[in-house]
């Protein structure tokens, strides 16, 4: 009986697994294979070159800069997105006027295309930012941040937070709604203040949501692509070139397909490693809370 069943379940998953293998795993293996060749994506032939591409990747300043930017961006954005969305979720979960309207509004950015949002902000930064800064009297910032060495990456963070905080907000809100009122009432009797209440009750209760949000956000932001392409195209002078953009631009339009494949393999290892470390660490904290 049991054996029989096993066969049926196997039959159920097999088609999907085979398709997944063909369209995801095989291409990934092919990508890894190319990283050991000198193929430029165009010529009909290529030869194996061993680890040369990998060695060159480590020596390449462009690659190093792209990693620095991507990490700087991903870490800051993850922190801001989670702080902002947690604040919004707390506010939405309290007794407020027009609750449903606000809920609807704050989730809205999630359904918008990142590419189009970035185009809209592109106009905003070129036409409004300077006026706003002039009005505020901050002369130093009266430039289009997207064309500025120091401002460009922060502008990208800003746009990303605008669009991405929505989804995390909903997850936190879901977490907050699982906390029963009784817990708070007990603590209210003890005379705990809001701050203590948050760290004593609220945060431990939503810790699993915090963990999943942190991991998914960081993983997603490490692969940042659309908004960079639409906002700066990696500029000015390459300071906002993310790893995904570098691989795409140099590997496809440029002449470095095999070389950028090697870069992509390293990138994959890095993302997996970071996600695992993060998961371990956060889960440990979760238990200690």
């Amino acid at each position: 009986m049991k054996k029989n069943n096993f066969g049926i379940y196997l039959l159920l998953v097999l088609p999907a697994t085979i398709l997944f293998f063909i369209f995801h795993t095989i291409p990934a293996v092919m990508g890894i294979f190319y990283s050991f060749t000198d193929w430029n994506g165009l010529k009909p032939t290529y030869k194996m070159v061993g680890f040369i591409n990998y060695l060159n990747v480590f020596k390449d300043k462009d690659v190093l800069d792209a990693y620095l930017f991507t990490f700087k961006f991903a870490i800051l954005t993850t922190v801001i997105v989670n702080v902002v969305s947690l604040c919004i979720a707390l506010a939405l979960n309290s007794n407020i006027k027009l609750k449903n309207f606000f809920k609807g509004l704050y989730f809205m950015p999630y359904i918008l295309s990142m590419l189009i949002v970035a185009y809209i902000f592109n106009y905003f930064f070129a036409n409004f930012w300077i006026d706003i800064m002039g009005y505020l009297g901050i002369e130093k910032w009266m430039v289009n941040p997207l064309g500025n060495e120091k401002g460009a990456w922060l502008a990208i963070v800003f746009v990303t937070v605008w669009q991405s905080a929505a989804f995390n907000t909903v997850l936190y809100l879901a977490g907050l709604q699982t906390i029963s009122e009784d817990l708070y009432e007990a603590s209210a009797l003890d005379g705990a203040n809001k701050w203590k209440e948050f760290w004593g009750i609220t945060f431990p209760m939503i810790a699993p949501f915090f963990t999943i949000n942190m991991v998914l956000s960081l993983k997603g932001f490490l692969q940042v692509f659309d908004q960079v392409l639409a906002l700066t195209g990696g500029g000015p002078f390459g300071v906002t070139r993310s790893i995904a953009l570098l691989i795409y631009k140099n590997g496809f339009s440029g002449n470095e397909f095999a070389y950028q494949s090697a870069n992509a393999v390293i990138y994959f290892v890095v993302i997996v490693a970071i996600s695992l470390i993060q998961l371990r660490y956060l889960q440990k904290r979760e238990m200690n809370l």
């Binding site: 430029n40 165009l42 010529k43 430039v143 064309g147 195209g233 000015p236 390459g238 496809f252 440029g254």
Partner: protein, 418 residues
């Protein structure tokens, strides 16, 4: 609660089904013309990278198809053409005719066996010798992997009305240029409008500085390792930086190419440092503006003030095309005098074909230069693979000449070692 969603979904589905039926029919009739026997037509795909030229090509293709009812030419124009072309080649689905500019991408395609050898193509006989040499220099081969069709020019675009109002005339020497800049600034106007958010907008001017001012044997010497950018280009880069100080005040990194064209069109500056490819865009933004173009007067010796001109459009054939005969027929058609004339008239570019001239008023200042042959090739062909645009953009923000030159040397060596 579920009703609104299912309602909306149903609406979405039914609309999409409706429009599916509707547009299927219309797209059929628009692409294949009046054909029910489209099976008998030979389809030739014409992949071209200039979005500005789509309408012009459409007209010419219609004319061609009327004369050759057996051939269906399909024009493909997409953004990120380089990427799309590369994925198409990876697929083995190479377009029959590929039209690109004389640039790094053409070099890649030609040297990787994607393009057919067109050295013996009869049409080459009508092409101005210089442009054929340009293609050979780009690919580094004796063979020609394309036939040059249109050329561009890299000069200084100026607003004629502003020039008249300020009592200026077109400068031909460095001293005259300095006076022009001085007059414009004294009048409280802006000489150049810059749009450095797009890095490459700093390159057109740079190309002329290099073509006019660098030692003639620089690239050969650099290849041999007897000179460096740091030594040979220092002086001209200093001149370049000084020249580029005549831009608008405030942030020059706010706008990109499109906004820059629009700003110049509405009179934000008197002159504009862009190639002639920007002219149709400027005219689109302000059809009433009177434009002219002159060669950069960088030297007091007028014979050294070259007009930089390169191959803007070339036609090449896929090495694996199955309809070479039909594709060649279309190229023949495009190279015919009146069609080539129509193209350069509408696109405001120059012909690479002997005895076809650009007579537009805009280019009256360039005519004598072309007649004299005082024309130089784009120097950046020799440094394909270097990110000159990015280096120059950084230079414009940080003004550090030594760093920029050092970076050029580093990138050159990196490129050469590949």
């Amino acid at each position: 609660m579920k009703k609104p969603l299912s309602l909306a979904l149903a609406l979405l589905i039914s609309i999409s089904m409706l429009s599916a039926c509707g547009s299927n029919k219309s797209s059929d009739s628009s692409t294949n013309g009046e054909t029910t026997k489209s099976g008998e037509k030979v389809k030739v795909e014409f992949f071209q990278y200039k979005s500005e030229a789509v309408a012009t090509y459409d007209k010419l293709i219609a004319k061609f198809e009327t004369a050759n009812p057996g051939i269906d030419v399909v024009q493909t124009n997409v953004p990120e053409a380089a990427t799309v072309l590369k994925t198409r080649i990876a697929k083995g689905d190479v377009p029959d005719i590929i039209s690109v500019g004389g640039d790094a991408q053409f070099e890649d395609l030609a040297t990787n066996g994607v393009l057919a050898d067109l050295t013996d193509y009869p049409g080459q006989a009508n092409v101005i010798e210089n442009y054929k040499k340009t293609l050979q220099a780009i690919t580094g081969t004796e063979e020609l992997y394309g036939v040059p069709f249109a050329a561009n020019a890299d000069g200084i675009i100026y607003n004629k009305d502003e020039f008249t109002a300020l009592g200026l005339k077109v400068p031909t020497t460095k001293d005259e240029m300095d006076k022009v800049l001085e007059t414009i600034k004294t009048a409280g106007k802006v000489p150049f409008y810059f749009a450095f958010k797009d890095a490459w907008t700093a390159v057109p001017a740079w190309n002329v500085f290099v073509a006019d001012l660098q030692p003639a044997s620089f690239f050969t010497d650099r290849k041999a390792g007897t000179t460096t950018f740091a030594t040979a280009h220092k002086d001209l880069m200093n001149q370049y930086i000084e020249f580029m100080q005549n831009g608008q005040s405030g942030d020059r990194f706010t706008n990109g190419y499109n906004d820059g064209n629009a700003e110049f069109a509405k009179g934000s500056s008197v002159m504009y440092l862009q190639g002639v490819w920007a002219i149709p865009e400027i005219l689109k933004a302000n059809p009433d503006i009177k434009l002219g173009v002159f060669a950069y007067p960088l030297s007091n010796d007028t014979s050294k003030n070259y007009l930089v001109s390169g191959v803007d459009v070339l036609f090449s054939l896929s090495a694996t095309s199955k309809v070479t005969a039909e594709a060649t027929k279309f190229i023949d058609f495009m190279m015919e005098a009146d069609n080539a004339q129509q193209y350069i008239d509408e696109q405001k570019s120059f012909s690479t074909i002997n005895n076809i001239f650009q007579n537009d008023e805009v280019y009256s200042d360039l005519k004598p230069i072309f007649a004299e042959g005082r024309v130089a090739d784009f120097p950046d062909h020799y440094i394909n693979g270097m990110a000159v645009d990015v280096i120059l953009q950084e230079l414009m923000q940080k003004k550090n000449v030594d760093n920029a030159l050092a970076e050029m040397d580093t990138q050159y060596d990196k490129m050469a070692s590949r």
